[in-house]
Symmetry: D2
Subunit: 108 residues, 4 copies
């Protein structure tokens, strides 16, 4: 039996690093999550969208949250938004498809 | 002279609609923002990323926030995250490119 | 006639300042919003809750977003969540009171 | 030895309930978190601020996220923001105190 999946978005931001750039931290966070077999992800310009079982998503978020500390950051602000629907299966692609069905020219 | 641009993500959610589906509202919000000449957008499974001048992004968000009310919703929760960098130009594509340069196999 | 009010929460975070502390920026943002006659605010440990007309809240957020730049920051991430209910009046105190009615020992 | 603490804010919102009111769900979520000995909380009009060890905060958020489902909701959107500082102790009160020191008349 396949486990129920949720869709979530996570953003991990280090504070006080001395540089306005965060791409190095983002790449390392993606590195961590991409090693998980049960989680799919897609990077967008404002965060990373995740799809997988709730329990493992929470584990992945804790792991991503540690990444900037392991690279020397003193303070990290991590934001997570969970979308969990239990009346029908929820996937990243399914959510996009439902909007596309109504508005076929939507830019994705 | 080209105006300074910001990158933002917006999510507009109606509460108490009687249905767990929100795709109809998302499509109508996209419809509103896609008519603006100075704003680029990309839909992702958790929100809509916008690129354009701060002032016009704020106008677009106010317009998107009204959409569910115009369709009968009684309560709307709108979330906006603004990323504004002034030491170098900031674009949706540029943010992705900087991560891709470090991690070429990142899924976008 | 009194204008319809919304309740919102805003958080303004400077990146790359070289210090993990943000209290100086928070105090200056509060300073800006506290000068507005039509907006009430309350600071909590994770953000500032605002109450007032939607249009003026948006103006205040733009003003708060500028504060860290005026103090030398190169990049600012501002998060805004708007709660707008139109079937009945919405206030900061009213929202708390409705929870307190159900759970009288709630800590506020 | 005392465990390191983080400060976080959580918001749990059910979709498609047929009612624009959420106070009943908020009260039940507070009920869940208030039973945890290692977590302090404060409700504000836009969310609940938590203080405690990261691991247990994550457990509490998972528990709060289940509350609306147990009351019949079909879809729940949960938002979590974690503030984790490791160069000095971080507490709800300490964060407020640092702002108050700079701006003594701040409304809390």
């Amino acid at each position: 039996m396949e486990e129920r999946k949720i869709v979530a978005e996570v953003s991990v931001v280090p504070l006080g690093t001395g540089s306005a750039s965060v791409s190095e931290y983002v790449a390392a966070c993606i590195d961590a999550v991409s090693r998980r077999k049960n989680i799919s992800y897609r990077l967008n310009p404002m965060g990373t969208v995740l799809e997988g079982p709730l329990e493992e998503i929470m584990e992945a978020v804790k792991e991503m949250h540690e990444v900037p500390f392991s690279k020397g950051a003193m303070r990290v602000v991590t934001t997570l938004k969970i979308d969990d629907r239990r009346d029908k299966p929820l996937t990243m692609q399914g959510k996009l498809d439902r909007v596309k069905k109504i508005k076929p020219d939507v830019k994705i």
